[in-house]
């Protein structure tokens, strides 16, 4: 924090007229790749389009699967689909809707909208965003393709073992789920890191946290929840895949495992997942309602509180998916209480929107209709949610069509309707034409009516005793009628979607540079004159509704009277501001377009998918290529420091910053949070399985002698110390590299040594990973540690190479800073792991 940060001044930082050639230079820096090379673009608008389009594609595909299921269930004892096909289809429907549509489409809207909304030129890590998209797209297509080769998983989207274990699900289907979904989750986390740092660090000057559009708040909470929720399911998929491939018995009761461990881990992710999907959609509603009502949002403060509270409370109710598993009644009611708690923030939001409508005059546009539909459907879904949160009621409703009705009301009502409203609302910001209101209203009517006809009867079907996930049912009169109605409704709903698609084809004219723009007279910055580079100049924001409260802002921005009207360095740039008060702190140069992110994603997908079909050699070739692509890409980041740059009004900001000022420091911290929650999930698994089967835990005398962990701990600590020394030994200029290289090299050796000692100690003590749950967990801890050690080895090699190339010095040190952060984290994790696996059995 040595750099003086200039205070912001109201008014216009720049004088007119702007110098000649300034605009042309800006356009040149942001020029798009031509024709098919557009796939190499990393610009958020282009990637955002692709992302949204791909997500919609998966929505349609999963929707077709839903229609197939409804056809099968239209009449009793139907033979349209075989049981195996039906089971694959319902598994894929759930999985694709959740992992390939709901989360990605929300993330896509974030990538597409956020920079514009925040007044940034792009997100801080454009290539990471492109990587996240391509990884998702390639992985998703392959995953969906398994349906056509009879390789699709059939264990349900929840994948409960032992049904999904090697014994009861031989074949590749479950592996495709585990590796494919694990991989797509990694892509989601990459996107989340991008969004968090984007929201916190690239807002327009003056856009303090309390002036931030609600949508940005929701994306922040959304991404934060991904950071804590997804690691749990990543760990779960890792455990199950290791069990399937190598027989590590995490879920096998005879060897001390437990099937419920999966359910805990899965739902610790799975419940927040629902809110991960819902919150951004609620954010969209909070943007649409004020615009359509022509009045500022009422209860902004309360809504933000509600968002954060939802984010938190949603982590405390995972057990309510396990009410029927025989857990003690007191525990169930604890989670019943938590489930009630999460209803509170939703209540606040619903009445805040109603208040906003009351404060203004709601225009009945298509977007408004979708919002009204959302309010009705979501409220109903929320109420049935309160019902199933009641323990005794859930004993009856659990795993019946009542639950199917409930969560479709929540998800379709809470997420899909707002999303369609958002498509209609934001289309003008990205299209040369608006979407048709006439078609839009028809689409809404069909979807709203169809949805209720399809899903409302399911409440009754469920209470009439029909369980979920059945491919057929006997000819009970009531069941037959209700199911037929549901099927008709489903097709009505689909016809609404079809009308929407027709509208898209007729009217959507995607563009990056000249959209029709502010047709709704919105208040937030995405309605400025935006181009591929965002606004010509980045405005100073002084209120929550800048376009309403600062008249003429759009013209001023277009004329270049605000910050950064051109390009200072000739490259793509954006302003880095402070996380809370949005003070300009630095000018960040953004990377240009290129192949590495796309290729890295393709090869990463190749690695996972080839591994699934057991082409091990090819998989590793693909993995190495992916790594190479990532290294090429990383080599181009951390650019040479340049002199301070003026962004307007004589305000000069540095073009190179390190430590907490740098955006990459924030990204690394978020990554560490991801890693931390992954490790905590393992700690939970360890303690949980101990409570279930303490008999497989070793007695203190069977433990490895304490000398072993001691040596391992010393080596760990030493490696951290060496990294500190290496930081001191960073060359000022290009000399004195030997000390640095030696320190890093020694640190790598002692880090690897510590892991080796740790693994060897267990091996010599006679623990084996495939014998019992304790052994499996102990080696699992080392396995997680190994992942970090390998990452660090690569990063250390990278740092050494940068140093030898003269690209790492005391001043230009971000690469090392990131390495050191992750290093100390890994050491801390390692020390904690030693304490757990060597200490716990001695005291327990």
């Amino acid at each position: 924090m040595n750099e003086p940060v200039p205070a912001l001044l109201a008014g216009h930082p720049n004088k007119l007229p702007r110098p000649k050639g300034e605009l042309e230079a800006l356009q040149a820096a942001w020029e798009l790749p031509k024709s098919w090379r557009i796939v190499t673009s990393v610009n958020n608008t282009v990637v955002g389009y692709f992302y949204v389009a791909a997500a919609v594609l998966f929505f349609l595909l999963a929707g077709i699967l839903a229609l197939l299921m409804r056809l099968q269930l239209a009449v009793p004892s139907n033979t349209f689909l075989s049981p195996e096909t039906y089971n694959q289809i319902f598994t894929m429907h759930g999985t694709v809707m959740m992992f390939l549509f709901a989360v990605p489409v929300v993330e896509a809207m974030g990538i597409l909208l956020l920079p514009q909304m925040l007044g940034a030129r792009d997100l801080p890590f454009p290539r990471l965003g492109a990587f996240a998209f391509w990884a998702y797209f390639v992985g998703g297509i392959i995953f969906f393709g398994t349906l056509f080769y009879d390789l699709a998983p059939s264990g349900g989207w929840f994948m409960y073992p032992p049904l999904t274990g090697a014994q009861y699900s031989p074949g590749l289907g479950a592996d495709f789920w585990l590796l494919g979904i694990g991989f797509i989750e990694i892509s989601a986390i990459a996107g989340a890191i991008e969004l968090i740092v984007g929201v916190l660090r690239t807002r327009a000057p003056g856009m303090t946290l309390d002036r931030m559009p609600i949508f940005a708040w929701t994306m922040l909470v959304f991404a934060g929840m991904i950071v804590f929720a997804f690691p749990a399911v990543i760990l779960a998929t890792l455990l199950l895949e290791l069990e399937r491939a190598f027989g590590w018995p995490f879920f096998v009761p005879q060897k001390g495992g437990d099937a419920l461990l999966w359910q805990h881990l899965f739902w610790f992710f799975g419940h927040p997942e629902v809110y991960i999907i819902f919150l951004p959609a609620a954010g969209m509603v909070s943007m649409i309602v004020p615009t359509m009502s022509r009045t500022p949002l009422v209860g902004y403060r309360l809504i933000v509180v509600a968002l954060i509270a939802t984010g938190f409370f949603s982590f405390g109710l995972w057990v309510h998916h396990m009410f029927a598993t025989g857990i003690p009644a007191l525990s169930l009611n604890l989670f019943s209480a938590a489930s009630m708690a999460v209803a509170l923030p939703s209540g606040i939001q619903v009445f805040a929107w109603i208040a906003t409508i009351a404060a203004g005059r709601l225009q009945l546009t298509t977007a408004s209709l979708f919002v009204l539909g959302f309010l009705f459907v979501f409220t109903l879904g929320g109420l049935t949610g309160v019902m199933v949160a009641m323990v005794p009621f859930d004993w009856q409703a659990h795993d019946t069509y009542f639950v199917v009705a409930h969560f479709h009301y929540v998800l379709v009502g809470g997420m899909l309707f707002p999303m369609f409203g958002a498509f209609y609302y934001w289309a003008p910001a990205f299209s040369r034409r608006v979407l048709s209101e006439r078609f839009g209203k028809a689409a809404f009517s069909l979807m709203f009516i169809g949805f209720n006809v399809a899903f409302f009867p399911m409440h009754i079907t469920g209470l009439m005793g029909m369980p979920r996930r059945v491919y057929t049912y006997p000819a009970v009169a009531e069941w037959s009628v209700l199911n037929m109605i549901s099927t008709i409704g489903a097709f009505l709903f689909a016809s609404g979607v079809l009308v929407f698609l027709f509208d898209l084809v007729r009217n959507l004219r995607p563009t990056v540079s000249d959209p029709i723009g502010d047709v709704w007279k919105g208040a937030s910055l995405e309605w400025l004159h935006n181009h591929i580079y965002g606004p010509r100049s980045i405005p100073l924001v002084t209120s929550r509704d800048p376009l309403w409260d600062q008249p003429g802002l759009s013209e001023e921005s277009k004329e270049g009277r605000h910050y950064l009207p051109g390009t200072v360095t000739g490259q793509r740039e954006t302003i880095i501001t402070s996380p809370i008060e949005a003070m300009p702190q630095a000018l960040q140069r953004l990377p240009g377009d290129g192949w590495p992110p796309l290729l890295a994603a393709v090869f990463t997908a190749g690695f996972f998918m080839l591994l699934t079909v057991k082409y091990v050699t090819l998989a590793f070739v693909s993995g190495v290529l992916a790594l190479a692509m990532i290294l090429i890409w990383m080599w181009g980041s951390d650019q040479r420091p340049l002199p301070h740059a003026e962004i307007g009004h004589g305000i000069k900001v540095p073009t190179y910053v390190g430590g907490p000022l740098s955006h990459s420091w924030w990204a690394m911290v978020v990554l560490m949070l991801v890693a931390g929650s992954l490790y905590l999930s393992l700690v939970f698994s360890y303690l949980f399985l101990w409570t279930v089967s303490p008999q497989v835990w070793p007695k203190p005398e069977q433990m490895p002698p304490s000398l072993w962990p001691f040596v391992s701990a010393v080596l760990l600590t030493a490696s951290s110390g060496l990294i500190v020394l290496a930081g001191r030994a960073l060359p000022v200029r290009s000399r004195n590299r030997i000390a640095f290289v030696a320190a890093i090299g020694l640190a790598v050796l002692s880090l690897c040594g510590s892991l080796g000692v740790e693994v060897l100690s267990h091996w010599r003590a006679g623990f084996r990973p495939d014998v019992d749950a304790h052994g499996a967990l102990v080696y699992m801890a080392s396995f997680l540690q190994l992942q970090f050690v390998l990452t660090l080895v690569v990063m250390a090699g990278f740092a050494i190479a940068r140093c030898l190339a003269g690209m790492l010095s005391r001043r230009r040190r971000v690469v090392f800073g990131n390495l050191a952060l992750l290093w100390h984290y890994t050491v801390a994790q390692g020390l904690f792991g030693l304490l757990l696996v060597h200490g716990f059995p001695r005291v327990a």
């Binding site: 954060i308 938190f312 003690p328 604890l334 996380p579 008060e581 911290v669």
Partner: protein, 119 residues
């Protein structure tokens, strides 16, 4: 022209203290019950006492959070409203968390420990 001294990371974290207290309270009660009941070793009284102590402690922490004075705004230009805003928000979150804590305590008072569902 000099910057206000802010610690953005710490300020952001404070936002989460209230809900975290709620989460810890929940996990503590759940964890202790799991330990008592598999295999059943503890008594219902222990659970009840623990519930009372944990709830009082959690509520105390939340009240403290709610009455904690706002960060001083001296030396900050009026355009800097973010930090004060965060403080306010964390107060409200503390309130919501308190409701959650009380709700968590309710079943501890009403449902016998280790009773098995529907048996």
């Amino acid at each position: 022209m000099s910057a206000p001294r802010t610690r953005p990371f710490a300020d952001l974290l404070r936002l989460f203290v209230g809900p975290t207290v709620w989460f810890m309270h929940l996990v503590l009660l759940y964890g202790v019950e799991a330990l008592i009941c598999t295999p059943p070793v503890g008594s219902g009284r222990a659970m009840l006492w623990l519930g009372v102590v944990a709830t009082v402690a959690a509520l105390g922490a939340l009240v403290f959070l709610a009455v904690m004075p706002a960060p001083r705004a001296e030396g900050r230009p009026s355009v800097h409203t973010g930090a004060a805003y965060l403080h306010n928000t964390s107060r409200l979150l503390a309130f919501l968390s308190a409701v959650g804590v009380i709700w968590n305590a309710l079943p501890v008072a009403l449902v016998p420990v280790c009773a098995l569902a529907a048996s």
